[in-house]
């Protein structure tokens, strides 16, 4: 139903009014958000038990948004080679986490920690009330990196010690 509404609104906008920034219909979803909603990138799940996978889970169902963002780290280079997400929430939350998975790919863990919610919000032209979604996406990235680093530390600890199974 949302898709239909969005198409109708977009159709009306493009027919009657030349394309201009959001002044005309401030409550309309930006085309980037609709794109991510219709063509979501990287939806899925990695094996959480994989030592090279970091999982970030943020939000709470009661608040309306839950994001799970997972990153796959290359053992040797320490870079993020793949990312996926699953999000429960509004279109802006889905788009924010989708953008996050796109942006973390190919970067190092330190680099992705510099991704700011303001950049995500700007890319999606999020209205003021939806800025919190972009912050949640930033938190999801941080949580995933934290988890990945913790796992790496655990692994290194195990390798240094004897054959003791940790965790």
């Amino acid at each position: 139903m949302l898709r239909l509404m969005a198409k109708r609104l977009l159709g009306t906008a493009s027919r009657d009014i030349p394309s201009r920034p959001l002044q005309i219909l401030p409550r309309l979803y930006h085309e980037n958000v609709i794109d991510h909603y219709n063509n979501p990138r990287n939806v899925g799940s990695f094996d959480k038990n994989d030592p090279n996978v970091g999982t970030g889970l943020v939000g709470a169902p009661a608040c309306g948004d839950v994001m799970k963002l997972q990153i796959k780290i290359d053992e040797e280079s320490g870079k993020i080679v793949d990312a996926c997400f699953k999000t429960f929430g509004c279109g802006s939350a889905i788009a924010s986490s989708s953008v996050a998975t796109e942006w973390v790919k190919g970067k190092s863990m330190d680099e992705v920690l510099t991704i700011k919610n303001t950049e995500i919000a700007k890319h999606l032209s999020l209205p003021p009330v939806k800025l919190h979604c972009s912050m949640l996406a930033e938190d999801a990235i941080k949580a995933a990196v934290k988890d990945a680093e913790a796992k790496r530390a655990k692994m290194n600890g195990t390798l240094k010690g004897a054959d003791v199974k940790s965790g």
Binding site: T55, A62, F88, P128
Partner: protein, 189 residues
């Protein structure tokens, strides 16, 4: 309101233990409960909740140590009634003071609006502030054109709303930002 207690217990159970294989029906009923519109969420009408996509096709089997910030049981921090009392008085107070400020400043495009428990302050081309209650977290959420999104918790010792990450005080933050944007100082305390 009373139905939230068993719901939250179920969520914590779900996250702690891997759910049994034929879970879809019970999880779907859980998901449907989540889709019930929350009074504290602004700008979302009931129908958009029903059509909000859930990309969770499988159960969320998440390890316990994968969380970022530790989950706090907010019900023990502040009761819901207490929260509403505090938050409502803060927001209404702000609404009055901002309306007075609007008269003083004579800023083109200055508009204060309060509806559906959401306070919106428009500053023309300079941007819009949105403030609302986030009852499940016992927080006041603010969206600022300068500092972006922030979430304020009630600090009982300071008797103020404080954003934990930056230690910012809600009223002080608004005072400094408004002075920056509109040129005239304002007292919101």
């Amino acid at each position: 309101m009373a139905s939230r207690l068993p719901l939250l217990r179920r969520i914590s159970k779900l996250l702690k233990a891997p759910p049994p294989a034929p879970l879809r029906s019970s999880r779907r009923s859980l998901a449907l409960r989540f889709l019930r519109p929350q009074a504290s969420t602004p700008d979302v009408s009931p129908w958009s909740f029903a059509s909000a996509r859930s990309f969770c096709s499988g159960p969320l089997n998440l390890p316990q140590d994968s969380q970022g910030p530790a989950p706090i049981d907010y019900r023990s921090v502040l009761s819901e009634d207490e929260f509403h009392g505090l938050a409502n008085s803060t927001i209404h107070d702000l609404q009055e003071k901002l309306e007075e400020y609007g008269d003083v400043v004579e800023f083109d495009g200055f508009d204060v609006d309060y509806g559906n428990e959401v306070l919106t302050l428009k500053l023309g081309a300079l941007g819009t502030y949105v403030m609302n209650k986030q009852t499940p977290n016992r927080q006041i959420w603010l969206s600022s054109p300068i500092s972006g999104p922030s979430r304020f918790d009630w600090d009982h010792n300071a008797q103020a709303w404080v954003y934990r990450r930056t230690k910012a005080n809600l009223l002080k933050l608004l005072e400094s930002e408004l002075e920056q944007l509109c040129g005239k100082p304002v007292n919101l305390s």
